[in-house]
Amino acid sequence: MASSTSQSNAKRHTLSVLVENRPGVLARIAGLFARRSFNIDSLTVSPTERPEISRLTVTAHVEQEPLEQIIKQLNKLLHVLKIVELDPDTTVERELVLIKVAADVQNRSDVLELVRMFRAHVIDVNTESLTIEATGSQGKIDALMDLLQHYGVIELVRSGAVAVTRGPKALSDKVVGSEITGR
């Protein structure tokens, strides 16, 4: 149960984890994922609207049971303040990707067409390459990537997903933060 996390019919889940902004938090969390063999697709860490709280966004393809177990294990970490599994229907999720495509004079216009269709931007042009910046849901990024693959991807970097729920509330609304910094 606790093992074998990535099975065929595993669904994609997005977790938002609010943690105290403290040294070592990431090491504790990353260590937990590794030890409980919880394979994640992406992980981002960033500051939040409150200086004493940081936010992790984790995406993973997992079955329900290992997911529950990892949430419980995460909850045991004292620096973890709140974990929410985001509901795709009420969540806006975005990822940023920078792609250097091997586009030359011959096929550049085809690539530019794709860029327009996906509302992406060209941020650098060279005789042998185009660098594209795209933002969107993971699905959109994946679709764009699939199409660009055809022209030859020289270099690729993805930010990993970040996500917020729709509406006026913040996840941190009811979270008591730490009043102590630098521990």
């Binding site: 070592g24 090491a27 004292l78 008591v176 630098g182 521990r183």
Partner: protein, 639 residues
């Protein structure tokens, strides 16, 4: 806003944020080291174990004649940690140890991991190099917090003296509440030597720590109902019940429901062995009655237990017909290994106090099934497959003592208040099977981690606890193996010098017996690296084949440390030595019992096999006589 605040998440050490901008106006001025000692005193800590060194010297300097706690000097940091564990189990209070940085901290890791596995409340204080030296590979620098992340309940790296009392107060609170466990305080030299203003009590700031202690009303109702529907209930009680001091409640629950009680290794003594409802330990070396009860039950009530593989055997075949109620203070344990019908998160004693009236109510409403057929079956297991070693194949063939007989004699002649401690191996299993446990917290043994070398230091810690709480009137008997004993025998020095007399029974089979048992059963009697030459039967005559016998000579070793050393090769000598040891209370006594190296621990479920395959003796499978059972017994696919 949206200006990123410094993100601390990636670093291990605080970044340049203002730390002590709110220097308290009041408070007593002192150093961080003095604050540490003062905070431990203010917490009511009475006994501390440890070894000093460069990076913790300021703290040791702050320990003075008038310091309110006793300090016991260990001879190895691992032992200081195990002593703190033994103390904690025996007294029910937090164990505390203080060691230096680098190698001392790494030496302590085994004890920290052990405490983590067995949920033992402990504060491990380690020295650390100065803040500016961190990350420079300074002398005796080790990333203690990093090394111990996976084996602690929580940890602190303290960089400022002003933080010391709050961190100590928080660590104590975390270690002793919820599911207990070890907390590491890695104290930089900067924090020790820096000046601060001491105040007490401290306000704890733990926004991410809210252990649930009280159960959900609805779940209690559901659980109560299941009890009334059951024809074959079993209470499967683990170490969590011991930590929660829930003996009274377990007894009450068993009496109210008529359910039999089986325990894990860590819960031995939770209710007396003389109680007719007690079937003994279950699992790999459990009684047939206990293991059988669980395999056949229709309601399994797990209480402070975590479905460890040594208990369950092959998980998918464990208690296959049971509905499961799982009571545990750690939500992550519930559903981890076995899915549950009624999950109840909370402190065992608190939950049972609330559950018992619910069951009474449900019994009045729905009645209760007659459990007589169930008890008839269980009693048949008990009489047909008793926990005893008097069958012909159990008797030594080489003139040595039977180790099981020795344990029975020790149990028979011991003071009823005795605290029993063990090492890890066959002797540990025999002790857990054959000592008559009548009280909780009188059995101290490394369960989850199975740490050889745990015994002597844990016994020392237990005796320090006995001296604190009972004027030393509760004797401590350590039943150890010759292999286990050699891992921490240096602590005989601490026992003698610090006046902590314990009684040590070494069941000396001259081998790593438990490993040998597996080699006998599963590795074609290839005794690779398990022969110790520390107690060959021909010790007093000619040297054995190897030319080495009695290395070490445990009697001389004991004497070298100022202890009484006795050797027993015959029953008369054994009884005499036990009698002497029971009479000597001012010095540590070590008895070298020469026992049979081919003695076996029975019953046995091979690792990874179904508990249905349990062998009472070789070829005797009381729960399943199909061919499959005996086949599975012969191979060790597990671990």
């Amino acid at each position: 806003m949206a200006r990123p605040t410094p993100l601390q998440a990636f670093s291990g050490v605080p970044k340049g944020t203002a730390q002590n901008d709110e220097t308290p106006a009041n408070g007593e001025k002192m150093t961080g080291a003095q604050a540490l000692v003062r905070a431990l005193e203010d917490l009511g800590v009475k006994d501390v174990f440890g070894i000093p060194g460069g990076a913790i010297l300021p703290v040791y300097d702050a320990i003075k004649e008038d310091t309110k706690f006793r300090f016991v000097l260990a001879r190895h940091e691992q032992a200081a940690g195990h002593a703190a564990e033994g103390y904690a189990v025996a007294t029910g209070r937090c164990g505390v140890c203080i060691v230096t940085s680098g190698p001392a901290a790494t030496n302590l890791v085994t004890a920290i991991a052990d405490a983590n596995m067995d949920s033992i409340p402990m504060i491990a204080i380690t020295g650390q190099v100065g803040v500016n030296a961190i990350g420079t590979d300074a002398f005796q620098e080790a990333d203690t917090v990093g090394i111990t992340y996976p084996v602690t309940k929580h940890s602190y790296l303290v960089t400022s003296a002003q933080d010391v009392p709050r961190v100590v107060a928080e660590a104590y609170y975390i270690a002793t509440t919820g599911r207990p466990g070890p907390v590491v305080i890695d104290l930089t030299k900067t924090a020790q030597t820096g000046e601060m203003y001491y105040t007490w009590p401290q306000r704890l700031v733990l926004p991410g720590y809210n252990p649930t202690t009280e159960a959900h009303g609805r779940m209690l109702e559901n659980a109560a109902k299941l009890f009334t529907q059951s024809f074959r209930p079993v209470l499967y009680v683990g170490g969590g019940a011991t930590r929660s001091h829930a003996s009274k409640q377990i007894k009450e629950l068993a009496d109210l429901t008529g359910a039999p009680v089986v325990t894990t290794l860590n819960a031995r003594g939770i209710i007396p062995d003389s109680d007719p409802k007690m079937l003994g330990m279950l699992g790999m070396h459990g009684t047939v009655a206990a293991t059988g009860a669980v395999q056949r039950c229709d309601l399994l009530v797990a209480i402070g237990a975590r479905f460890d593989d040594r208990v369950t055997g092959k998980l998918s075949a464990f208690a296959p017909t049971a509905r499961v109620i799982h009571i545990d203070i750690d939500p992550a344990e519930i559903g981890k290994n076995r899915s549950v019908d009624v999950p109840i998160v909370g402190d065992v004693a608190t939950v049972l106090d609330a559950l018992i009236p619910e069951i009474r109510k449900a019994q009045n409403e729905y009645g209760i099934h007659d459990l007589k057929p169930w008890w008839d079956a269980l009693n048949k297991f008990r009489t047909d497959y008793p926990m005893s070693y008097d069958r012909p194949e159990d008797q030594p063939t080489d003139g040595t003592l039977s180790p099981q007989w020795v344990v029975s004699q020790l149990s028979k002649s011991a003071d009823p208040n005795t605290i029993w401690v063990s090492g890890v191996g066959q002797h540990q299993m025999w002790a857990s099977q054959l000592v008559d446990f009548e009280k909780p917290n009188h059995w101290i043994s490394s369960g989850g981690l199975g740490t050889m070398g745990y015994g002597l230091p844990a016994a020392l810690g237990a005796m320090v606890g006995s001296q604190r709480d009972h004027d030393g009137s509760y004797p401590v008997w350590l039943i150890d193996g010759d292999g286990s004993f050699q891992m921490t025998s240096e602590e005989l020095a601490a026992a003698t010098i610090d006046g902590v007399p314990v009684k040590v029974a070494i069941l000396n089979n001259s081998v790593y017996g438990m490993v040998r048992q597996w080699q006998t059963l599963f590795y074609g009697q290839h005794y690779s690296a398990t022969i110790l030459h520390d107690g060959e039967p021909d010790a007093d005559d000619a040297p054995g084949e190897s030319g080495y016998v009695n290395v070490p000579d445990f009697v001389k070793l004991a004497e070298a440390y100022g202890c009484v050393g006795l050797r027993a090769t015959t029953k008369e000598e054994a009884l005499d030595a036990i009698k002497k040891a029971n009479e000597i209370n001012d010095r540590t006594v070590v008895i070298d019992f020469r026992v049979w190296k081919d003695a076996m621990v029975w019953p046995m479920v091979p690792a990874g096999a179904s508990n249905d395959t349990v062998a009472y003796r070789e070829g005797v499978h009381p729960l399943d006589n199909s061919e499959k059972a005996s086949e599975e017994t012969l191979s060790s696919e597990g671990f």
